[in-house]
């Protein structure tokens, strides 16, 4: 059991992190004090075209020099600094969170439609699987993940997330079972523009993992949520599927329902299921995924985990609990529960 919440302001009006901290802290029962995290989009307006690479270092000696070296090989570090943190009485500092603002040299590779992103993906996979004591946990443009092993309010205070302002926020409160409550295992998970928070357990993990690994991803964080980020990256960025279609691939309608659809729709859904069978996610889950363009929330095909949606003007909230939405926005206008597998999409209005 975990608690998740996400919010988007579709007009890109930025919100500071104080209200989502309150909302997540309210869902204390859903966690165990071993992991919490936040991701926000639009927080680095000073570096609008740089990849913000957040790294957990075990120390600033060997791992950092190795990461510096590989980053400098592939691009230019525009700026780097330790992520400001503030000691909390009960939060043991396991790593040193660091951030780089980075521009890759795109002329270094061929055969890619998006060399910058492919280089960043390559760097994330390389650092995380080969450099001991370094873990890249955030790698998108103008966004950042802040997470640690602790209760929601401790983690929020550790990073002082109220100092960041973003137009999309996702947050997660963790009750770890599968993997120990280490910092890297806390959510959100991020790769490039994709960030994921997830409540549940993916019983299809073995199948999904083989599928993403056969497409060049490496699962290094020993948790099933990571694979969701990679699936979204593969289907969304590399295959160019719109988010509704990705959700349909990951949590498709049942064949009995598909059989009853009009022929054209039936054909689309059958083709989608056959093509992306190994991407189908099974087991109980509620997930919210974000990109800079919007958020999408959905559950497994028989809704074994809760998901509630609230709306108020330009703001869309998706959460495990209605109470969390209400504490974030007491004025929230409509609240509803999406059906199993139904995608809830909030897009940025350009």
């Amino acid at each position: 059991m975990c608690g998740i919440i996400g919010v988007i302001d579709r007009t890109k009006a930025r919100m500071d992190g104080s209200s989502i901290k309150k909302a997540l802290s309210l869902m204390k029962e859903r966690g165990s004090g071993e992991g919490a995290g936040y991701v926000a989009y639009g927080i680095y307006p000073d570096y609008p075209d740089c990849y913000a690479i957040h790294v957990f270092f075990d120390n600033l000696v060997e791992p950092k020099s190795k990461v510096d070296e590989v980053l400098q090989k592939w691009g230019r570090i525009v700026h780097q600094e330790e992520i400001p943190t503030y000691e909390q009485p009960c939060l043991k500092r396991e790593h040193i969170p660091w951030r780089y603002f980075y521009r890759p040299y795109t002329e270094f590779i061929v055969g890619s439609n998006n060399p910058a992103e492919d280089i960043i993906k390559h760097l994330v996979m390389t650092v995380n699987s080969t450099i001991q004591g370094a873990l890249i946990f955030s790698s998108g443009i103008n966004l950042g993940v802040f997470k640690a092993a602790g209760w929601p309010e401790e983690v929020a205070d550790f990073y002082r997330i109220e100092d960041y302002k973003g137009y999309i926020w996702l947050a997660h409160n963790r009750y770890p079972t599968n993997t120990p409550g280490w910092w890297g295992g806390a959510h959100p998970f991020n790769l490039l523009d994709w960030a994921v928070v997830h409540n549940g357990e993916i019983t299809s993990y073995g199948t999904n993992r083989s599928y993403v690994e056969s497409n060049g991803y490496k699962c290094t964080m020993s948790t099933d949520t990571e694979v969701v980020a990679y699936l979204f990256d593969l289907l969304g960025r590399r295959h160019g599927l719109p988010s509704e279609m990705i959700v349909e691939a990951l949590a498709p309608q049942f064949w009995d329902e598909i059989d009853l659809l009009p022929e054209k729709e039936q054909k689309l859904k059958r083709t989608l299921r056959l093509t992306y069978g190994p991407a189908l996610m099974n087991g109980p889950f509620a997930i919210v995924v974000a990109t800079s363009k919007g958020i999408v929330g959905f559950t497994d095909r028989i809704k074994l985990r809760p998901l509630v949606v609230g709306e108020n003007g330009s703001r869309l909230y998706i959460s495990s609990e209605e109470a969390a939405i209400r504490v974030m926005d007491p004025e929230v206008k409509s609240i509803y529960m999406p059906r199993a597998g139904e995608p809830v999409v909030g897009r940025v209005v350009q």
Binding site: T177, N178, G200, E201, T203, S204, Y205, G206, T207, R209, S210, Y211, E213, S214, N215, G216, R238, H239, G240, L241, P242, M245, F254, W255, D256, K267, L268, R270, T271, L272, R273, L274, T275, Y276, G277, P278, L280, M281, N282, G283, P284, R301, I302, L304
Partner: protein, 503 residues
């Protein structure tokens, strides 16, 4: 010098107090174990094959059978089998023939793999209350979807699917030809697959007219002898399978003895009456992988690209690379037949010593196709020694899309795995062409038994999946997280890509 006789394999005895002399044993035994003299049933145990026909027909349970009634001096190396094979070959100077699957005592990997179930952190799914999807599509799949935007801004699907076979359950009946088995046996299987929404193979024996009503559930086979193959045959099949090899006898061809080639068999196979039907070891138009790709394309062209083409190979050491080569042709599915696969007749030395177990072959093929990023583009069908729904579930978790069963479906028709299929005297009416024996199968009853078996395994598979928190078969496919190895060595765990129990 005479070698004398070897000891009896089986000893039959009749409890004379129980026996009511109904003579059913006499009538039913096609091997001539029983005869009547002076109103007494006499027994020639030497002829017995342990087919159990008499035992199953005896209304008084009066017959008993003892295996190996005479002991040899026990010896760990010079087993009775080793000694008898030598005596046999000293007498005949011939290759020893054998039926059914591998009879050597190799460890069974399936029995060293255990499945998973949910507890607390994720709820198990009750298939009686929630949907459980076993529907399986076999055939080429696109690597990714492509869309175009219409003028109105609607998203239109650009990708076209190749024809796929739709199975209601990931369980098919493998290729057993008319000739190897009887028409009534084939008809029973055909009716059963039609009833259960799955498919069966014709084998390399053509398709008899009486199977035409079930042709949409039949996969026709093109093997090295090309028996029964013409355009009519190809067009009748729901899919076409090119048979390169067979798990029971990798690397060699087939031989249907002339005695089994009755007039119906000769018509269906398109060969002269009473002639031996010999399938050569290789296809003489396939001497390399590109030749195979050509044959796949030729068959596709002949049937206007409307039918999936499968390629069946025996599981040999290099199975993964071969499967990857096949996947690169236009073939839709690779069938891998493990070394426990059954046969009507194979040289014993091949049946018992050549090839690798299906469990390792599936995992190796799955890995190779994954490494090359093409796993989902081609289907993998596994066969060879699948005995129950657990073997089925484990095969899928190791990476198969579906399985073929052969022996199991015959057991549902009465077969007791006596292994004398090649003699053409099958008292159950399965591996024979003698009309009186063939008529022992009532195809309505037989098909119901086979359909029951498929249905029962399907139910059990649903329960196993539900317990593992999976409601769609594609999430079990290749899902090693749901498997653990029990007392398997490290090398084997690595090949299977499975963690040991407790890990």
């Amino acid at each position: 010098m005479s070698l004398g006789s070897v000891p009896l394999k089986y000893k039959i005895s009749i409890d004379r107090d129980q026996c009511m002399k109904c003579m059913r044993c006499v009538d039913n035994c096609s091997y001539g174990v029983y005869r009547i003299e002076d109103d007494k049933i006499l027994i020639d145990s030497r002829r017995c094959t342990a087919c159990h026909r008499c035992i199953s027909m005896c209304p008084r349970d009066a017959i008993s059978l003892k295996e190996k009634p005479v002991d040899y001096r026990s010896h760990p190396l010079w087993t009775a089998q080793a000694r008898e094979d030598i005596i046999n070959q000293a007498r005949t100077g011939k290759i020893i023939l054998a039926g059914m699957g591998n009879a050597m005592d190799y460890p069974i990997i399936f029995d060293r793999l255990v499945l998973d179930a949910c507890q607390v952190t994720n709820p198990s799914i009750d298939p009686l209350r929630e949907p459980m999807e076993l529907r399986t599509y076999l055939g080429k799949k696109p690597a990714k979807l492509e869309f175009t935007k219409s003028d109105k801004g609607d998203i239109e699907l650009k990708t076209e699917l190749s024809p796929n076979l739709k199975l209601d359950t990931p369980l098919m009946i493998g290729h057993m030809s008319y000739g190897a088995i009887s028409l009534n046996a084939q008809l029973s299987l055909a009716k059963a697959v039609a009833k259960t929404g799955t498919f069966m193979g014709t084998g390399e024996g053509g398709m008899h007219e009486s199977l035409y009503p079930y042709q949409s559930n039949m996969i026709v086979q093109v093997a090295s002898g090309r028996f029964g193959v013409d355009i009519n045959y190809l067009e009748r099949g729901a899919a076409i399978e090119i048979k390169i090899g067979q798990g029971a006898k990798p690397g060699i061809g087939g031989h249907l003895p002339g005695e089994k080639v009755c007039s119906d068999v000769s018509c269906t196979r398109m060969i002269p009456l009473g002639s031996d039907a010999i399938s050569p070891a290789p296809h003489h138009d396939i001497y390399s992988i590109e030749d195979l790709a050509q044959l796949v394309r030729s068959l596709k062209e002949a049937t206007e690209w409307k039918k999936p083409i499968f390629v069946k190979i025996a599981a040999v050491h290099n199975v993964a690379a071969i499967a990857a080569g096949i996947a690169r042709s236009s073939a839709d599915a690779v069938v891998i037949d493990g070394f426990r696969g059954g046969t009507g007749a194979a040289p014993k030395v091949f049946r018992d010593n050549v090839g690798i177990p299906i469990e390792a072959a599936i995992a190796a093929v799955d890995k190779k196709l994954n490494d090359q990023g093409i796993r989902n583009e081609v289907s993998v069908i596994a066969s060879g020694g699948i005995r129950n729904s657990a073997d089925l579930a484990k095969s899928i978790a190791l990476g198969a899309d579906a399985v073929y069963i052969g022996t199991a479906s015959l057991i549902a028709l009465g077969c007791r795995v006596c292994g004398n299929c090649y003699r053409g005297l099958c008292p159950w009416g399965i591996a024979t062409q003698q009309p009186d024996l063939v008529n022992r199968i009532d195809t309505d009853v037989g098909s119901q038994h086979v359909a029951n078996l498929i249905h029962a395994w399907t139910l059990e598979l649903s329960e196993l999946m539900g317990a593992a928190g999976i409601n769609s078969i594609e999430s079990l496919r290749g899902n090693r997280e749901r498997l653990r190895g029990y007392m398997l060595d490290e090398g084997m765990l690595k090949v299977l890509n499975v963690d040991p129990v407790g890990a």
